[in-house]
């Protein structure tokens, strides 16, 4: 695995990607929390907050994806692992769910429920599972033994 990444060259697109890519996930988690509170209390504040979070999450997802596009056409072909493939499709599911959810959250008051809550759960679950699977294949945060090749 580590042999695929021999160099630690700094790359600006990669840095921007690393900075922005987690933001949608955090916002979708926030959407879910707000939706749960709204579904239980009916206090409008929370569903309006959720509407902003899900919309902004989608907006923040745009730039990392454009960078991906650039990387795909300029970057070298790499080995594709099974985990990365699963993570990719889970991300597709999450983004589609979040997009539909943004429209659901444009409804007035309690018309957002229960659809909005289910879509928030789906979005967060899909992204979370993808990340957990990927974490097994990433070198970051793992104790890497520097075996001499």
């Amino acid at each position: 695995m580590k042999a695929d990444y021999p160099s630690a060259r700094f790359s600006l697109p990669s840095a921007i990607f690393t900075l922005l890519d987690p933001i949608p996930f955090g916002m979708f988690v926030g959407t879910l929390i707000f939706d749960i509170i709204y579904a239980k209390t009916g206090e409008i504040l929370w569903v309006k907050g959720a509407a902003w979070l899900v919309s902004m999450g989608l907006v923040f997802a745009i730039l990392p994806q454009i960078i991906n596009l650039f990387m795909v056409f300029v970057g070298k072909t790499r080995v594709r692992t099974r985990g990365q493939v699963i993570n990719f499709w889970l991300n597709v599911v999450a983004i589609i769910a979040a997009l539909v959810n943004a429209f659901v959250h444009s409804r007035d008051a309690y018309a957002t429920m229960p659809d909005g809550l289910w879509l928030s759960i789906l979005t967060v679950l899909a992204m979370a599972i993808g990340r957990i699977i990927l974490s097994g294949e990433r070198i970051i945060y793992k104790d890497v033994t520097h075996v001499q090749a």
């Binding site: 990444y5 409008i44 504040l45 509407a51 745009i62 990719f88 597709v92 444009s106 008051a109 659809d115």
Partner: protein, 442 residues
């Protein structure tokens, strides 16, 4: 590492495509409009949308001498043009006409992403144009032909709508208060700076018009205070003294809620034969092209008409948490449905002699026109025959032709109505910025 990302950007394209599909899936109206006029409108099941239906013709105004069409036996003339969003008209005893030029104060905070988008769409029709925040006095020229003289009468108002003369006091209902002025006949500019009679609900101002009627004995003013939301999405705490008809004591300004649960009551007027208070009301949006029909109704003291918990009696609106079965049980069914999304905004009980006998004793209702329905509805002035002081139908179109045949362009939109001493019907048109006068063909 990067290969899967190629797939991801493909997914992005898929998502964008899906968004386009979603925005195109607005529902068309299915119920015959004639079934939604009268005492027992057909009400289909409510729907939840991803994107609610929206169709807004582009406001272009009247070109040259273009005019609305009128029913046989009637004629129409333009008595004023170039006004700043005229919403309401009042005929004074000396036959001067006051025109209230106004629009919403635009103070509603943007608290959802949807408001950003909806504002842009609605403004295309010209209905969102800035109002003059003033009252203009029209006076017939000595020769009696052509457009009338225009004089700026009262300036620097705050989204005024209702205006009434009681004795020598002129009352103007701004969105946030009722002002009282000493009226002097013949003046072309109000000389009295005015005093505040009463405050009115003035937060958010989602629905901003404060329609005003005066009781037949001249002792009370009745104010239509529209809701601060479509269906409670701004929280029910901002609905205090909203979606209600308020009664204001003319001597001291004290007020109370006279009737409630009427989402946006306008066109308040007393039926001349029975002395009953009537209102027209705009009902809730975004649960279907055929829901919920706007209505014309008598207003019962302490009556509750359903908003936000239910419509047309006991049809529960699921969008409100918490649900209130006790309020739903109390909800009064309105008297007469006028059609879905027609946006009734002007009411006048005709008592004149000028027009055909069949118009006497009934009511004219102006329909400002839909923005969330395909095909368009409203955009006309209709006549509602009355029997024994209650609306009976059938409803007949009287003034039409406010939009192009293909529903793309909007020339005008009728709002406030009034009747002059000769029995002519005056119509404020806030997209064409014109005052029209309809009378019998000479």
């Amino acid at each position: 590492m990067y290969k899967h990302k190629q797939g991801r950007s493909r997914a992005l394209v898929t998502v964008a495509g899906l968004a386009l599909v979603l925005t195109a899936c607005g529902e068309k109206a299915r119920v015959d409009p004639s079934l939604q006029i009268g005492g027992n409108p057909t009400l289909p099941a409510s729907q939840d949308f991803l994107v609610p239906p929206m169709q807004v013709p582009k406001g272009v105004g009247w070109k040259g001498n273009a005019m609305p069409a009128v029913a046989p036996g009637l004629q129409i003339e333009k008595i004023a043009s170039g006004l700043k969003h005229p919403r309401n008209v009042l005929v004074l005893p000396n036959q001067d006409v006051l025109v209230v030029e106004s629009n919403g104060p635009g103070e509603e905070a943007v608290t959802t992403p949807k408001q950003l988008i909806a504002g842009v769409v609605k403004n295309q029709s010209g209905k969102g144009a800035k109002g003059g925040n003033r009252i203009t006095l029209l006076r017939k020229k000595p020769g009696g032909t052509g457009e009338w003289e225009q004089h700026v009468y009262i300036e620097n108002l705050h989204s005024p709508f209702g205006v009434q003369l009681v004795g020598d006091s002129l009352y103007v209902a701004n969105t946030g208060n009722i002002m009282k002025y000493k009226y002097t006949a013949g003046e072309t500019k109000m000389s009295d700076p005015g005093t505040e009679l009463a405050d009115l609900p003035n937060t958010v101002n989602h629905h901003w018009t404060k329609a005003m009627a005066v009781s037949p004995d001249g002792k009370k003013l009745y104010i239509g205070s529209g809701s601060n939301s479509n269906i409670g999405e701004n929280g029910l705490e901002v609905e205090y003294r909203r979606a209600a008809v308020l009664e204001v004591d003319i001597t001291n300004g004290a007020s109370r809620v006279f009737a409630s649960g009427i989402r946006n009551p306008t066109g308040l007027q007393f039926e001349p034969t029975t002395g009953k208070l009537f209102a027209i009301a705009n009902e809730r949006d975004e649960i279907g092209a055929d829901l919920v029909p706007d209505y014309l109704t008598s207003v019962q003291e302490k009556g509750f008409y359903g908003w936000p918990y239910s419509y047309y009696g006991q049809n529960v609106d699921r969008r409100v948490l918490k649900q209130r079965p006790d309020m739903v049980a109390k909800a009064i069914k309105p008297d007469f449905a006028m059609g879905s999304h027609v946006a009734v905004l002007g009411l006048w009980f005709y008592t004149g002699q000028n027009m055909a006998q069949k118009y006497k004793g009934g009511a004219f209702v102006s329909e400002h026109g839909s923005w969330d329905r395909t095909p368009l509805s409203g955009y006309q002035v209709v006549f509602v025959p009355f029997e024994n002081g209650m609306p009976k139908g059938p409803v007949q179109p009287v003034v039409t032709g406010f939009h192009s045949q293909d529903e793309k362009e909007l020339y005008g939109a009728p709002v406030g109505l009034a009747q002059d001493a000769d029995g002519g019907l005056l119509i404020a048109d806030d997209v064409g910025n014109v005052i029209w006068r309809v009378s019998s063909k000479q």
